[in-house]
């Protein structure tokens, strides 16, 4: 390793691990690759890379939120309930009467006292929760969702601003209700998607399987949907339309994917803005009318998609990163 600066070896290794060596440097690296010192540096660089990547990653984990969830699941209430289930009904009644005095102070700790929970997702965030009746709810970016910690036997009612997909646990006796500003969706057990964003002019309900009934906010019957049907209600005019849709497009976001089938760029950018937490501007008359087909994965960064857009549709995408506000993407005709 004579004549080679230690720092130079290190820098080459950094570049190597980041896959950034140019042709000349690649040759230079080949020459020193066999040395013990190079191997050691290489190992250290890799280790630093993985360790820093891991440390960036765990910053993204909301531990408290997850602990709350775990704690709720393992709370004494559940254990007491499970325990009681094993006894006959009468023994249970007797035991409850006996335990109430002892347990009440413990059960109603501040944590379990809140009956209504509220989740607010920022743009760029997605989430999934399981409600007390087993109903699964996927929440899309920028959604506000309210639900009770436990449902009683009279109603299962939640409130939504934004978009969510529901897989409702079947219960003949107690319908499941989703309240939005524009209407109420009632079901007994089914899978459907509701989009009720504040800045969208329409409330849309897309049925994936089962049956749903939609009522106006005042409780008047509006429509019953069959699978693959989509109901749109205009918030302002109240006008309603039902159309057949490809449910893949509406259910795809829960898999972290958007399936596009000749989707207009102007519609697509609204989704992209929510997903990637960016502002997108379309510059030029016809840019919004460009029809795009394909699949976008949310796990991937936006950049490759923008590059494909540039190549296939002859537009120019410009990314502006800001420190104090959302990144901005300007898409214009070339």
């Amino acid at each position: 390793m004579n004549g080679m600066d230690k720092n130079r070896v290190w820098d080459l290794c950094v570049k190597k691990v980041n896959d950034e060596l140019d042709a000349n440097e690649e040759k230079e690296f080949e020459k020193i690759k066999g040395y013990k010192e190079t191997q050691k540096a290489l190992r250290q660089v890799k280790l630093i890379r993985i360790k820093s990547s891991n440390s960036f990653l765990i910053q993204k984990i909301d531990k408290e939120k997850n602990w709350k969830h775990i704690n709720r699941q393992i709370s004494q209430f559940r254990q007491v309930r499970n325990f009681l289930m094993n006894f006959s009904k009468y023994a249970a009644i007797f035991l409850i009467a006996l335990l109430v005095g002892v347990m009440v102070p413990k059960l109603f700790t501040p944590e379990s006292q809140e009956t209504k929970n509220r989740i607010e997702l920022e743009r760029g965030q997605m989430g999934k929760i399981t409600l007390s009746d087993g109903t699964q709810v996927w929440l899309n970016s920028g959604t506000i969702f309210e639900y009770p910690t436990t449902f009683d036997n009279k109603e299962r009612s939640v409130t939504l601003i934004g978009e969510a997909q529901f897989k409702v646990t079947h219960n003949d006796k107690v319908p499941f209700e989703v309240k939005t500003k524009t209407g109420i969706i009632k079901v007994y057990g089914t899978t459907f998607d509701v989009s009720a964003y504040k800045d969208d002019p329409d409330l849309t309900v897309t049925l994936i399987e089962g049956v749903v009934t939609v009522e106006k906010s005042n409780g008047n019957y509006l429509a019953t949907l069959k699978p693959s049907e989509q109901l749109r209600i205009n918030k302002h005019s109240g006008q309603t339309t039902i159309q057949q849709v490809n449910t893949d497009f509406y259910s795809s976001w829960i898999d972290g994917k958007i399936y596009l089938n000749r989707t207009k760029l102007s519609e697509l950018v609204i989704m992209l803005e929510r997903w990637y937490n960016v502002n997108i501007q379309l510059v030029g008359d016809k840019v919004g009318d460009i029809e795009v087909s394909g699949t976008i994965s949310k796990g991937k960064s936006l950049n490759p998609f923008l590059k494909i857009l540039e190549r296939m549709y002859g537009v120019k995408c410009e990314l502006k990163a800001y420190n104090n506000k959302k990144d901005e993407i300007i898409i214009s005709k070339n």
Binding site: W10, R49, F56, I61
Partner: protein, 186 residues
């Protein structure tokens, strides 16, 4: 490894369980994420593991080590997840390949505190270096992409990366954080 803690957990000590959670929840999420590449889902899976461990704590026998037990629990939960209809969310072939490539007993599960120490060192870096490092190692951006995003030259990205790595090597070494070399494959 505080194996003593396990006895407390077994006897129903939630405080002890919280300590276990504090030490290993995030690292296990990171482990799951390295397999399924979906952090949201990783958190759900690891949370479920913790819930199940608590529910079955009395009957759990820790044979080798608690760390090993936790890793195996998470790995099994991922296998179970792959069999569920929901598994559309991940690329099953890649996950299975990774599961088979990384043996649990060779995986170095660190405590959260150890991982956080690295982050604290990163925070000492000048802002730009930190940003560049994050874009490169965490977001997987190329130097050219970073240069475009931050409106600086590729050369600057390179210089700053080398500096950041040198700083981290020196500080990690001083804190004895570069001692383990657990790379099996390149």
């Amino acid at each position: 490894m505080e194996e003593w803690n396990w006895d407390n957990i077994k006897s129903g000590d939630k405080q002890a369980f919280r300590l276990l959670f504090d030490d290993y929840y995030s690292p296990l999420c990171q482990y799951a994420n390295s397999l399924i590449n979906n952090l949201e889902l990783s958190q759900d899976i690891v949370s479920d593991c913790f819930i199940r461990i608590w529910e079955r704590k009395e009957s759990i026998q820790i044979k080798s080590s608690l760390k090993y037990y936790l890793l195996v629990s998470v790995r099994n939960a991922i296998y179970t997840y792959l069999q569920s209809p929901e598994s559309r969310k991940v690329d099953i072939n890649t996950v299975v390949e990774r599961l088979e490539n990384i043996a649990v007993d060779e995986y170095n599960l660190e405590k959260e505190e150890t991982i956080r120490r690295v982050y604290r060192l990163i925070e000492e870096l000048p802002n730009q270096q930190k940003k560049i490092l994050e874009l490169a190692v965490f977001r997987g951006k190329t130097y050219k992409e970073i240069a475009e995003i931050l409106e600086i030259s590729v050369n600057t990205v390179n210089t700053q990366m080398c500096r950041a790595y040198r700083f981290l090597r020196e500080r990690l070494n001083r804190n004895e954080l570069l001692l383990w070399f657990f790379f099996k494959k390149n």
